[in-house]
Amino acid sequence: MPMAASEIEQLIKAAIPDAEIAIRDLAGDGDHYAARVVSKSFAGMSRIKQHQTVYSALGGRVGGELHALQLETAVPQPENI
């Protein structure tokens, strides 16, 4: 079942309040997205842990109702803090 980009953003935001989120609908079908999530809370986490944090914010939807989420995570660069 397709998901709206706004719904994905809300779920991530609820779990990671300071996150800056950019979402692109890759195929225009509401099923294949790319998301970039930038948060100070990622500092000191491994990449795997950062991605797992986002997956858990989406509560098991990735791999299920959300087929594909190309994910990029980052800590804000010093000049942006």
Binding site: R47, I48, H51, Q52, V62, G63, L71, E72
Partner: protein
């Protein structure tokens, strides 16, 4: 043997192993295809496990790594990540280093 034990054995037995959809020659998903392209580009020596041929592994691997998607790369028993992380590590040169150490 449980799915967990079978996966543990696979990642222990093979220095570099990719759990994927399809085979290296015929990947069945764009993300698996991307993972293979990266490994081939690095001329890595790797084994693949086709999760489409094995429902138990297909579900078990997601719990094993607490990671909801496939492909998944393991090097020397450690979960490295999926195709996005592989691409980031490829671009930064970290994947080359990791694989060189495994060879």
């Amino acid at each position: 043997m449980s799915a967990h034990d079978r996966i543990a054995e696979l990642v222990k037995k093979n220095d570099v192993v990719l759990f994927m959809k399809g085979t290296a020659l015929f990947p069945q998903c764009g993300f698996s295809s991307r993972a293979i392209a990266i490994l081939d580009r690095l001329e890595a020596k790797y084994e693949t496990v086709d999760v489409l041929q094995d429902a138990e592994i297909r579900h078990g691997i997601k719990e094993y790594s607490e990671w909801p998607t496939i492909p998944q790369l393991y090097v020397r028993g450690e979960f490295v990540g999926g195709s996005d992380i592989m691409m980031e590590m490829f671009e930064s040169g970290e994947l080359q280093e990791l694989l060189a150490a495994a060879a």
